[in-house]
């Protein structure tokens, strides 16, 4: 398990180093089902209840 976690951390860093943003979809409490994303900048910031992290390219002016 420790090896797996280390692999996850390394992969997380690699994605961010490759220029990706990372975020976790969440549901805001008391919002009547409204969902939003929470940006994650460090592996330790991932909420414990998160089931996945979504990586997507950084925004740039079009």
């Amino acid at each position: 398990m420790r090896e797996d976690e280390q692999a996850l951390i390394e992969e997380f860093r690699r994605q961010l180093d490759d220029g990706m943003w990372a975020a976790v979809p969440t549901e805001r409490p008391g919002s009547g089902g409204r969902r939003e994303a929470q940006m994650v900048r460090d592996y330790a910031d991932i909420p414990p209840e998160a089931q996945r992290v979504i990586f997507f390219p950084r925004a740039s002016g079009g």
Binding site: E5, R35, A37, A50, R52, I54, F56, P57, A59
Partner: protein
């Protein structure tokens, strides 16, 4: 594969962290193949499958109403943050909102009046290679949704702002706002989301 699929892979990885290592090994294998792979020729089937996966991912992230909105109207509305000097009423209508279109600028407008404010040109280039330079349509929408709902100031700060009309037809956008209001008035967001 496209960048946002990496997200799905990361989701798999996190699950693998909980469930064990086989998925992790599979991920490493896919990444190695991707790194070694030659550039792909355009493949309509692959593009269609990528869009289908993107739609599934989008659907799993947004709520039922937003999904039904995208499915029925082709765009998603995201409310803007309450203004700093406004009272902290969570139920108050948003002072402004965004319309997220695939591969088109984000449009800001005032829901109460329908007044168009500006369009924000922003791109999320596909960084994964494979001959594709832009994300599947639904991945583009998801990237905008994630960026806007998580860090609105950052994505807007990176965008190029113009008056509506540079890439969007203002008449078309006004018609979309009217379509959205009719869609909501008829309760399509409620019934449609359940039927989806």
């Amino acid at each position: 594969m496209l960048a946002l699929l990496t997200t799905g892979l990361m989701a798999t990885l996190l699950a693998a962290f909980l469930l064990g290592s086989p998925t992790l090994a599979r991920f490493k294998g896919r990444r190695k193949r991707h790194a070694e792979g030659a550039p792909h020729a355009f493949d309509p089937g692959r593009e269609r499958r990528a869009e289908q996966r993107a739609r599934q991912l989008l659907r799993s992230c947004v709520n039922d109403v937003e999904w039904a909105m995208y499915r029925d109207l082709g765009f998603i509305r995201v409310d803007g943050r309450p203004l700093p000097d406004s009272p902290g009423d969570e139920d108050a209508p948003a002072p402004y909102a965004y319309l997220i279109y695939p591969h088109k600028p984000i449009v800001a407008y005032v829901p109460e009046s329908g007044r168009l404010l500006s369009e924000y040109c922003v791109e999320f280039p596909d960084l994964t290679g494979g001959g594709r330079t832009r994300l599947p349509a639904s991945d583009d929408v998801l990237a905008k949704w994630m960026a806007l709902t998580s860090d609105e100031a950052r994505v807007i700060g990176r965008a190029n702002m113009h008056l509506v009309g540079r890439q969007h037809d203002p008449g078309h956008v006004r018609r979309d706002i009217w379509r959205l209001s009719e869609w909501e008035r008829l309760g399509a967001g409620d019934t449609g989301a359940r039927a989806a």
